[in-house]
């Protein structure tokens, strides 16, 4: 990919001790995720009999589909220089709304309207950040609280279960032996990757995140790009929420709101910069797979799950430290 060539060129141009440190850090930043995924894959293949089976691998993919969608959108946001904490709450709202609406509207309209509500939430976040100039972290923290509260109001604190048999289709049906949700994940990955690397829109996202003033002086509508990125984040949370509620047939306020942390972890572990202007979808895809393999490995090797979050946290810190050090060195 284009990013890879950048690294090798910089490595070659680099001269002197400091520059070679920066070259090494850049190499780490660019390729660490690839090496880690491969290594982990090999380790699990040799230590567990059940790891390298179609059932297990499809299972892993199916589990990461919702968090993957949220992570793709978060990749767009980090590239454009913003952040969205509220996608977890929007994800939950979608499930709750869909479960509540299903008896009245039927399965597909309920899922669609619920996902559109999440999209609307994303647009509102975008407008608040871009036009009211509220810091995106604070803004989405606040809207996240409001949306979570709204979910509680809708459910009145109860579990909302759906009994219609057709409701499971989106989350559980298969095409060619593969679940719909996995197809959605794959198509979304290809589409997002294409948009970022091959379209004007993608270029503008990178430019705005890399240097908003230079982007503005180049005629790019900086605010519009931010609104689009937030809108996408809402939509992704909506689709992810629809998939999960269709799989579990239950909507519950407060359950699943932490999906945003898993998504964020995947994005930064993949090597997308938290400082804007740098990143890619294939990185996030690898980040998702990496974190999923860790969880899967822990389960297969029967390690206490309490250690998982400690290790995940350490991995995120390492990834962000490498990003920050490579920026400073260059």
């Amino acid at each position: 990919m284009a990013d890879g060539r950048v690294a090798t060129v910089r490595g070659r141009v680099a001269a002197g001790p400091l520059a070679s440190v920066s070259g090494g850090l850049d190499f780490l930043r660019e390729y660490m995720i690839v090496v880690c995924v491969l290594a982990l894959f090999l380790v699990l293949t040799f230590t567990s009999d059940t790891f390298l089976t179609t059932t297990n691998l499809l299972n892993v993919l199916q589990q990461v589909a919702p968090v993957g969608l949220v992570a793709f959108a978060l990749t767009f946001l980090l590239i454009v220089g913003e952040f969205d904490l509220s996608s977890g709450a929007l994800f939950v709202l979608t499930g709750v709304l869909a479960a509540k609406l299903q008896p009245h509207l039927g399965t597909w309209p309920a899922l669609l309207i619920a996902a559109m509500a999440a999209l609307a939430g994303g647009v509102i976040n975008g407008l608040l950040v871009a036009y009211a100039r509220i810091n995106s972290f604070v803004c989405t923290l606040a809207t996240s609280l409001m949306v979570a509260g709204l979910s509680n109001v809708i459910t009145k604190g109860f579990l909302v279960t759906v009994n219609a048999p057709g409701f499971f289709a989106l989350g559980s049906n298969e095409l060619l032996g593969v679940k719909y949700s996995i197809w959605i994940l794959v198509v979304a990955a290809l589409l997002c990757g294409f948009v970022l690397s091959r379209t004007k829109f993608g270029r503008w996202l990178y430019a705005v995140g890399g240097n908003p003033e230079a982007a503005r002086l180049s005629g790019i509508n900086v605010r519009a790009m931010k609104v689009w990125a937030f809108a996408f984040s809402g939509l992704a949370a909506g689709i992810g929420g629809a998939i999960v509620v269709s799989r579990t047939a239950t909507g519950q306020a407060g359950n699943g709101i932490d999906i945003v942390f898993g998504a964020f972890a995947a994005v930064v572990v993949g090597g997308t910069s938290v400082m804007g202007g740098r990143g890619a979808i294939w990185r996030t895809m690898l980040g998702i797979i990496f974190l999923a393999l860790i969880t899967n490995g822990f389960n297969l090797l029967q390690v206490e799950p309490v250690y998982q979050s400690i290790i995940q946290g350490a991995i995120i810190l390492t990834a962000v430290a490498i990003d920050s050090l490579s920026r400073r060195a260059s």
């Binding site: 950048v6 060129v9 910089r10």
Partner: protein, 497 residues
């Protein structure tokens, strides 16, 4: 109050990248005097002031305070020798109160506790001395600029500062406020404080200073008693800026060349007010002026980067609802003052930077055509002769000169009607400077209008067909670039003679 500090610098050298800011400067500042540093833009006066105050480290040379050679590792070290700096941008904590700002880091009291009563007492004493009338409990950000500056002065006094460096202290003040500041400065001197006063307001300097040092191109020209100088004699001393680069031949635009840019009554107070001029096709018009004269702000307003009142027309069509986007469509291009902050996206590849403003040229229905883009980037970079290893290398890995060429190439993907070139050669080496001059000249020869802004008067005079002198945001004179001499323009921008 302790006696003022005497200070001397010996053989100070300082470079910023390829640019030499100070080249072996030595001066003596006597205890208890007001010593003014004057010079053209880029003469090195601010840099010298900052070196004395420890805010900038010299590459070579020594600083002597009261006969003792000193080395600073930080501005804190300078404070220990009793030297303080008041910069154009204040170093205050905006949300803290006046009192807390004044005593920040030197709080009165013992054992980690602050003795507010004692602080207020001391504050009242000092405030009385310099005529500061605001309450000590209000946050600093609520104060007017002039009062914030007084807080800076109070802060220096609390630290028993014996030498204060003031860098362009009147730049952000109204005339009345500036006069009051001059009074305060005199009172400080009378109390025994030494003042190094960096300014380009020659009238103030002559009214205030005991001694004046003139710098030019980072070199010492002369030091004399202020009583023996006039604005004329000072301007004369600043003249004759040595040109380190040869300029390409001027080809004058044809007499019937159409007007490309017409600016009528453009205003954005206080930066600039009622500015009108025209640029014809093939013509290079230079804007000459001191820092703060409104040069950059005018270019940004024309481009629609900042709002401003007045009319801007391109080839007779008025631009309405000015925005960078609309301006680019109408054929305007802005090569901004800072390529790093405003021109380029440093973390992105060279190719993306070149096509950034004209992605329509290399895409169809929003999808990029990579082959076409590579070709366009290759041809454009070749036309500006930007050396690069690969189109996909990050633009940050290029040298300053090649970055600047890339920033220019960005506007040549589609040929504009008018180029606003703001400091096109800042911080690049002599060879790259000449290359940029040639490029600008050739663009003009091809019929492009160019509005050239530069702090280097030699550059403006060497390239422009016509020169507009700006003083304090207004047009102070318009001259033929071929025939005008440096002295005439300098007198116009300094407002002397």
């Amino acid at each position: 109050m302790k006696a003022g500090a005497a200070c001397a610098v010996r053989g100070i050298h300082k470079r910023y990248g390829a640019a030499v800011a100070l080249d072996g400067v030595s001066i003596d500042v006597a205890a208890g005097e007001i010593h003014a540093l004057v010079g053209e833009n880029g003469a090195g006066k601010s840099t010298l002031g900052k070196i004395v105050a420890g805010a900038v480290a010299p590459d070579a040379g020594e600083i002597v305070v009261d006969g003792e050679r000193v080395t600073y590792r930080s501005p804190r070290d300078a404070i220990r020798y009793g030297i303080g700096l008041i910069e154009q941008e204040f170093a205050l904590a905006p949300d803290l109160s006046v009192l807390d700002n004044v005593f920040l880091g030197v709080e009165l009291g013992g054992r980690g506790l602050v003795d507010r009563a004692r602080q207020r007492e001391r504050f009242a004493e000092l405030a009385e001395r310099i005529g500061f009338r605001e309450r000590s409990s209000v946050p600093v950000r609520t104060l007017r600029t002039a009062d914030q500056q007084k807080v800076e002065i109070l802060r220096a006094l609390v630290r028993e500062t014996r030498l204060i460096v003031m860098d362009e202290p009147t730049a952000a003040l109204t005339r009345d406020e500036a006069d009051r500041l001059l009074e305060i400065t005199r009172e400080l001197r009378d109390d025994g404080v030494t003042v190094i006063y960096v300014s380009h307001v020659l009238g103030d300097v002559l009214a205030l200073a005991d001694t004046v040092t003139v710098l030019k191109d980072g070199r010492h020209v002369k030091t004399a008693s202020a009583r023996e100088e006039t604005t004329d004699s000072l301007v004369t001393a600043m003249l004759g800026r040595s040109l380190d680069v040869a300029f390409p031949e001027r080809t004058p635009p044809p007499p019937d060349a159409p007007v490309v840019l017409s600016v009528r009554g453009l205003s954005r107070p206080p930066a600039f007010d009622d500015v009108s001029f025209e640029v014809r096709a093939g013509e290079i018009v230079g804007l000459a002026g001191l820092v703060g004269s409104g040069r950059t702000e005018i270019a940004r307003a024309i481009f629609g980067a900042d709002p401003a009142a007045g009319e801007v027309a391109i080839e007779g069509r008025e631009l309405r609802g000015r925005s960078p986007r609309g301006s680019i469509r109408s054929g305007l291009a802005l090569l901004p003052e800072s390529r790093k902050d405003q021109g380029l996206v440093m973390v992105r590849p060279l190719s993306e930077n070149v096509t950034m403003a004209h992605l329509g040229v290399v895409s169809r229905r929003g999808v990029l055509q990579r082959r076409r883009e590579q070709r366009v980037v290759r041809d454009t970079l070749r036309s500006v002769d930007a050396r690069h290893a690969s189109q996909s290398q990050p633009v940050s890995s290029l040298s300053g000169g090649n970055q600047q060429k890339a920033a220019l190439a960005k506007w040549l993907v589609r040929t504009p009607r008018l180029l606003l070139a703001d400091e096109p050669t800042r911080g690049i080496d002599v060879g790259a400077k000449r290359a940029i001059y040639d490029l600008i000249r050739n663009l003009a020869a091809d019929g492009l209008g160019v509005l050239l802004i530069s702090s280097e008067l030699g550059e403006v005079l060497g390239l422009s067909h016509r020169v507009i002198a700006l003083r304090a945001g207004r047009v102070a004179g318009e001259y033929d670039g071929e025939t005008v001499d440096e002295e005439t323009v300098m007198r116009a921008v300094f407002g002397s003679g």
